[in-house]
Subunit: 396 residues, 2 copies
């Protein structure tokens, strides 16, 4: 039989891979100024420190690190995560409620594996992170978009959705959201924890950007207000140490986490031990926060430069003013088409991601997501000038 | 709502986690001689070499290794895998038919994600590898056990199953099979490739043990006889470098692999770059085969010691005589119950895995799987003496 006749699983109907990834292929041109990615700056990646840690750890306990590990995670990392989540996210959990994972993307995959049958509903912010929308769609979930405003997802609308649609899960990025850069207000955090318990909805709280704060005051996590165990917390070291190491963690009610662990057994057995041990060393030796402070200094300047130039950029009607993270979300004048304009911009040597891709139901053609972490201040100035020239011409 | 009322996904019905993992918890007793695992010997794990490679690679290209990588894999590793699969597995494939994965367990997960809808049928050897049975069951596949004999899975029975049951996939471990240690004959390899193309069945050929050969002559892979693209090949570096690094690879038809890559995007984004780069260094610098030769010398002696003692062990009716790998499979006298006897053995200080767990339909209570890689020759002698005393008493 011709291999062209192969039948793929139903979960792939309507899935075509990430639109963003196709854009990234356009960016390989040398000299391109990319506001499109979501990567840490090269300067923010601690290559030397990791080199010496990796060598030291492998010489000291290489026999254990190179052997099979427990699906439940590298025991020292589980231990060091307990005070870390308490200190940074303001909630307490025992070691049996923490699971190191292969990047927080895997946490989302495991939560869906544990909970989602085809047709189950998941409430999501509109707009939200593309990668996890694809994850949910591959589990054949029905996404229920809930509008967000300057204070994050609208909890009045969310309560209606919980009441009428009985979703199994809510997926939310509370701090410096991707793509908007917005932060969920304290009041709404409390309300979401209460609604989750009232309606029996698992909240997947995805908080990878929190430590990248350049202004304002940090807020407790939604999980810190969770008295019943309905909030699952997804943590990541991709933005503060290295995405290439693929280490994140999931905190959840022990019964739910147990299902995730069984799912993980047949997904990748366990997260690579060396990678977990490197992150453990960052936490245990107090290396993380000094590193984060250093990278925040640059990111702050980059963000402020971009915000300042956005105020003067032609065709830009409004934009978010984040207090941290990696992204600014802008709305162009009514009638402008960010997908169509991207080609002119790329030809001019600058790129962004059209905002429409982040909306579960599409639309919003005049929105764009801008990343500032991967460019120097000078590149940001040059790139914003290019955007201004393309958008101004179009806005006339 | 009480979190105890949480509804898990249907795929978890009847899934309880790995029985083997529960046995492993019994083994934490100091001094226990374990024939139960499937781990490499500590001595086989190249800790020093990995320490220096990790440091060198991170100092030389740490900025790239710590950054996000492509879902398609670390480009140098994809390149070095092409000659590696040609040399070791006797088939040719292009870089767009190779995907580095987070251990070959992930390859199985991605193949199931790409192909399996609930109720789809997968033909498997009986007995077969427990971990991947759990993977297939989590995709709600119906497993069709096919009997195997000294030459591996019986292709006459397999053809009947293909004809009558139209499975979507066949899962097979052709070389030094887990749990039997048996190797599929050359003739049957050719036949399986032909049957796959005739009936349109994807073959998942899982070959992690091939390089651990202590006698006899190596055989070409099933994929080397695959002219139509129906064979997907799962490779692993867990048994020859390190399981803790979590690096394997999947070779498949480009269309099928494309679906696996889309699945991988939302599973773990990509396999950790540093781990891929370490494996790449092993291949590129010719470090792998000298290392493999060294570890095979010990494993050979360990296997031969165990085989010699099995010939004299009370209660053992017959056992396989592998030419490599990590396992020997033994049948105790009719009426003996390996699950019940395990407790006495563990009390005596020696452990194995009852064979029944490896049979998709259970049964075969008088079978056991013995691993020889994790024990020294002296430990094997001591452990076999303990087994002999328990089994002989029972056999009377």
């Amino acid at each position: 039989m011709d291999i062209q006749n192969i039948r793929f699983a139903g979960r792939f109907s309507g899935i075509s891979g990430s639109a963003i990834r196709e854009i990234f292929k356009l960016l390989a041109v040398p000299g391109m100024i990319s506001f499109a990615g979501g990567n840490p700056a090269a300067d923010a990646l601690p290559d030397e420190q990791c080199a010496f840690l990796a060598k030291e750890l492998l010489l000291e306990k290489g026999k254990a690190l190179l052997q099979y590990g427990a699906t439940e995670g590298y025991a020292p990392l589980r231990e060091s995560l307990v005070p870390y989540v308490k200190d940074r996210f303001f909630f307490s959990c025992g070691p049996d409620e923490i699971l190191p994972v292969t990047g927080s993307t895997q946490a989302m995959d495991l939560l869906c594996k544990a909970l989602i049958d085809p047709g189950d509903k998941i409430a999501v912010e509109s707009p939200t992170f593309l990668g996890n929308m694809q994850c949910m769609r591959l589990y054949q979930a029905q996404l229920l978009p809930v509008e967000s405003d300057a204070d994050g997802i609208r909890v009045d609308l969310l309560e209606e959705v919980f009441k009428k649609e009985h979703p199994k899960m809510l997926y939310v990025i509370p701090t410096f959201q991707n793509p908007t850069g917005r932060t969920l207000s304290l009041e709404r955090r409390k309300k979401i924890a209460a609604l989750a318990a009232e309606y029996g909805v698992v909240v997947a709280e995805d908080d990878p950007y929190r430590d990248l704060r350049y202004a304002g005051t940090e807020l407790p996590s939604i999980k810190s207000f969770d008295t019943e165990g309905w909030v699952a917390f997804l943590g990541s070291f991709s933005k503060v140490i290295s995405p290439g190491l693929r280490v994140g963690f999931l905190c959840a009610n022990a019964n739910l986490l147990r299902k995730c662990i069984i799912g993980k057994q047949s997904t990748d057995v366990h997260t690579a031990n060396l990678n977990q041990a490197i992150v453990d060393a960052y936490l245990r030796r107090g290396l993380l926060m000094p590193h984060v402070e250093r990278i925040c200094r640059s990111y702050r300047e980059q963000m402020n430069t971009m915000l300042g130039l956005l105020a003067k950029c032609g065709g830009v009607a409004r934009y978010t003013k984040p207090e941290g993270g990696l992204f600014i979300f802008a709305e162009l004048n009514e009638g402008m088409d960010a997908v169509a304009l991207l080609k002119s911009c790329v030809d001019r040597g600058v790129a962004y991601v059209p905002g429409t891709y982040f909306y579960p139901a599409g639309g919003h053609p005049n929105t764009i997501r801008l990343n500032f972490s991967m460019c120097t201040v000078d590149q940001i100035k040059a790139g914003m000038e290019k955007l201004d020239s393309v958008f101004s011409a179009q806005a006339k």
